[in-house]
Amino acid sequence: MHFAKHTLAIVAATTACSFTPAMAQDSTTIPVVIKATTASYWQAVFDGAQHAADKLGIQIEELGPANETQVAEQIGIMENLTSRTPPAIVLAPVSNDALAGPVESATAAGIPVIIIDSGVDTDQYASLIATDNFAAGQRAGHALATCMERTQGEAAGQVAYLRANPNGESLVSRDEGFLDAISQYPDIEVVDNRVANNDTAKAMNDTLDLLNRYPDLNGVFADNQLMGDGAGTAFAEQGVGDDVCLVAFDSSELEVDFLRQGVIDSLVVQDPYMMGYAGIWFAHAAQEGVALPRSVDTGVHVADTETVDQPEFSGLLDPDQRKLTPYLGTSADLQE
């Protein structure tokens, strides 16, 4: 389904990343540079961006490295774009410090840069549209505590968390938010964390080893989609029952399936579609000289095994079902 649409971006990302793909570029094509062409989360960003572009009658160009750990590749993409001077750039920076320079260069070249998803260590950008990841991490922490309370009567015991990539600002803030929330529960102890390098198989092995090392473990938090896939698979493989809670981020098909089965207890879902959609609107506006708000929080929602099939979540859990209108009429209901 995404086949033809994403072919160019994927080929660009996987072959060399440093060359400029030969695409029709005119003054109405806005490049969208995401973190990893290989996670469904980022496909949702592209979907939102594409829908916005359709409405505006402009084109987008889908770019990005294959994996979020490929910092140099994304810097290369930004350098090439800057020398090409597109009307604006929508960027989800893989690293807050490493991408600061390229963002400043693009801005200095007169290209408005809309940052989406993750912050960057510079103020030389047009606007930031992202999840407040610290707050989102807090939601995950509270969701884990709530689950522990439900399954064992009190929010107490040992928890551990899986980190996808200690180099990304959004993930670091998320982990900090998680720890901040957990620190509000004096009886919950964070016993360990593992860095699984955004590799699902490693996340799975690390989770198995965590379950083994801490036989009394009560909760695991997986800080992105690939970590959630791996941790969920490990839970399913070990037949871990209700006595260990699992809270993960985002919503791959596998994660949502695990949520339905009760393997994953809660998913903290962001709104990547909205980031792409708003990113393109803002980029278009910026290029017209419109002054933009400094930052916009796209919010998070917590879906659990009971609420997963509520219609409000369908568009968030599966971008294919997302309606063209960006604003959910029921968004107030979703804030719990």
Binding site: A9, A39, A196, T200, N205, D229, A236, S252, E253, L254
Partner: protein
């Protein structure tokens, strides 16, 4: 300062006596034994360091973790034996997982989907062998090209995201245990035994070693070089495809990002297990022990809560040390001659 010096000299004396001992017992002490000793001592240390290591559950975890890595490493051993290399296996693992998953989600029966995926492995292996043997492209280059191309293929086939919705039987297979041993490990054992038999008991196996040791004399002796080259690269790609199907079954998704850099782990396992990158030397058993050592290190780091980054450093240092000690003792041995 004095302590430092004496430490150094003790260390030197120890390493000298160790290597003398090694070279005296050359026939009985190949590098496999050294690595096996290292792995076993790590197991003993771990057994005393944490009560969670020597538990049935953890052993089963290690067996699961080592199985897929070993299968890839067994395959890679074959091109290495004939003085080649196969850098494409990690990408072939991802591509085969994605292709098989896609065929399955299209409703194809499991045996046919697996059969077609293995055919893909034969095709990739043949292409590598053809490029090396007929076109004269260095194995390093053609399989490096494959590393890029097959990964790209995996993204194209999957549309960039994981292929989800596999039949339940597949996930159940990877989770099954027979006689208390994971099915993945049994699969690895069967493949390992077949490859070990081929290598040690068949003419093809002996020819491979001969060809890796001395290409010219092997050719003059009338060995069918073409057949051997095709055989080695097809084994490598097909085992990578089997590993890809197993990994897909274990993760219950076909993931285009799976197995990044696994070719390097596989080569490292083969080399630490006694294979020479200059061909003509290496064994299936040694390769398994190499893979087991790496799996034990990863597992130990997790159980002891050692920083994931130190685990990478330790693995790297270990590869260097083992190969150095092996070289040292080979050099001494040739000096003795």
């Amino acid at each position: 300062m004095a302590t430092h010096d004496s430490d150094l000299s003790t260390g030197r004396a120890m390493s000298q006596s160790a290597s003398t001992w090694l070279s005296l017992n050359r026939r009985h002490l190949p590098v496999e034994t050294l690595v096996l000793a290292l792995t076993l001592s790590l197991w003993v240390v771990m057994a005393f360091s944490t009560p969670n290591f020597l538990t049935a559950n953890n052993i089963i975890n290690i067996l699961r973790q080592v199985s897929i890595d070993s299968i890839i490493a067994f395959g890679v051993l074959f091109p290495i034996l004939i003085r080649g290399i196969d850098l494409s296996v990690g990408s072939v693992v991802a591509l085969s997982g994605v292709v098989c998953a896609t065929l399955l989600t299209m409703g194809m029966p499991i045996p046919i989907a697996i059969g077609l995926t293995l055919l893909l492995g034969i095709a990739i292996g043949s292409l590598n062998a053809f490029s090396v043997h007929r076109l004269g492209i260095p194995a390093f280059i053609i399989t490096l090209a494959g590393l890029q191309a097959y990964r790209g293929g995996a993204f194209l086939v999957s549309g960039g995201t994981s292929v989800f919705g596999l039949p339940q039987e597949l996930a159940s297979f990877a989770r099954a245990e027979w006689l208390g041993i994971p099915s993945l490990f049994w699969t690895m054992l069967v493949i390992g035994l077949i490859l070990h038999f081929i290598l040690s008991r068949t003419r093809t196996g002996r020819y491979m070693v001969a060809m890796g040791s001395n290409y010219e004399s092997a050719r003059r002796a009338g060995i069918n070089i073409k057949r051997i080259v095709f055989f080695a690269y097809i084994i490598s790609s097909v085992t990578a495809c089997i590993a890809g199907i197993l990994l897909m079954s274990r993760m219950s998704i076909g993931s285009p990002t799976a197995a990044v850099a696994y070719e390097l782990n596989a080569i490292a396992a083969a080399v630490v297990g006694g294979a020479s990158l200059f061909g003509g030397r290496g064994s299936v058993l040694g390769t398994f022990i190499g893979a087991l050592l790496f799996a034990t290190i990863a597992n130990s780091a997790n159980l002891l809560g050692i920083d994931s980054f130190w685990q990478m450093v330790a693995t790297g240092v270990l590869i260097a040390v083992v190969v150095y000690v092996d070289n040292l003792h080979k050099r001494r041995q040739s000096g003795l001659k």
